[in-house]
Symmetry: C3
Subunit: 159 residues, 3 copies
């Protein structure tokens, strides 16, 4: 997997991983799998995209901004994954995402929001970045972040 | 596992797998495990069971209809699993379900809804179909579907 | 892992595992991993902590009581895990928690609630108890319980 050179080609620099919001770690490796904690949409300045998604439904975050928030969340996941395994070139494939959106009541285009993260992963890992997925709406997310995504990734243990 | 002959005995014909609602695949295999994306309650005519669950709570889907929707969702999961691994006879056991209900506010009999899927899996796989599970209520599900379920399944890699 | 002697030092006696609320089992082992079903906050008398979390947001359960409910939930998870694997000394590490809070609308300090479970696991397993985690708010939890937590745990298959 040439994910690191792909990142460079795309001009993507991964952000510093955000600190944990409680008593947990960002990632745990077990065998060939890495389980990544739910990450949030941290902007380059360290602030988070917050608010309910769906302007037509009374929220404060547009679907376009939410989709970008999902991409920011994906960058956090990649940063935390690299922190755990040293190089994204060790990724065999993205196994599973649980994409969690913070919807205004009635906003249910949650897959289009989480596509912002999936698209990033496909840019970086090719078709190996297209994992299994659920993309659903939660009642509340921590500190009102607009999007939270957790992931399971398969890595090559021999590299 | 004689799941395919069980299906035939039960007179169950699996539906065509529904298309993905975004940038993901229906299933990913890693080692002995298959991670299945969240599936929805697609009827034989291709439409989905939509709406909030709980008539007494102001929803439009009865608990009985929601339970049937969970069974339809289970049929989708089986169809997608067979698509991935070729034959359901390779299933060793259902490991884990995350059952997600779209409740009207106050409807919390979510386990009874998801039992509609679990019952199907036990019919098809016997006690190996009785996995670990959570059955909870989400704020929103994609396109207002009444039920969404994702699964982890263990398969025999040698068959 | 000396988790059993740690439990004794801490004066913690695990409760009887609560019965399943539907057609599922409390735990499934696959390879080195144990997937635990979502457990709830069962008190020593067998009743559950129920209600929406967040007094300031109109709920009936304070954040302190919810955090204690998460600890009770953790005790249930440990009881069910021991039931499955015989001794908690076989635990290699806590891999992943999905912590689900039943929030009053607007209560989003969900990580502080789930810390009640994580803290217990760190007391019992040391740093191996600090897993990956998401801690989010659901629209409804079964029977209105205040907290539900599911877990993935790595065990030593040779002991």
């Amino acid at each position: 997997m040439n994910a690191e050179s792909r990142l460079a080609e795309l001009g993507i620099e991964l952000p510093p991983p955000s600190p944990a919001a409680g008593m947990y770690v960002a990632a745990v490796r077990t065998g060939n799998l890495v389980f990544l904690s739910g990450a949030g949409p941290t902007r380059p300045d360290g602030s988070n995209v917050v608010g309910k998604v769906g302007l037509d439904e009374g929220g404060t975050v547009s679907i376009e901004d939410a989709r970008h928030a999902a991409r920011l969340t994906g960058l956090q996941l990649l940063a935390k994954l690299r922190d755990e395994i040293g190089s994204l070139d060790r990724v065999v494939r993205v196994v599973k995402l649980l994409g969690m959106v913070n919807p205004a009541p009635g906003f249910n285009r949650t897959p289009a929001v989480i596509d912002g993260c999936s698209e990033l992963f496909i840019e970086v890992f090719g078709e190996a970045g297209r994992g299994a997925r659920s993309a659903v709406g939660m009642a509340e997310l921590p500190f009102d972040i607009a999007v939270e995504i957790e992931a399971v990734v398969e890595i090559d243990p021999t590299t």
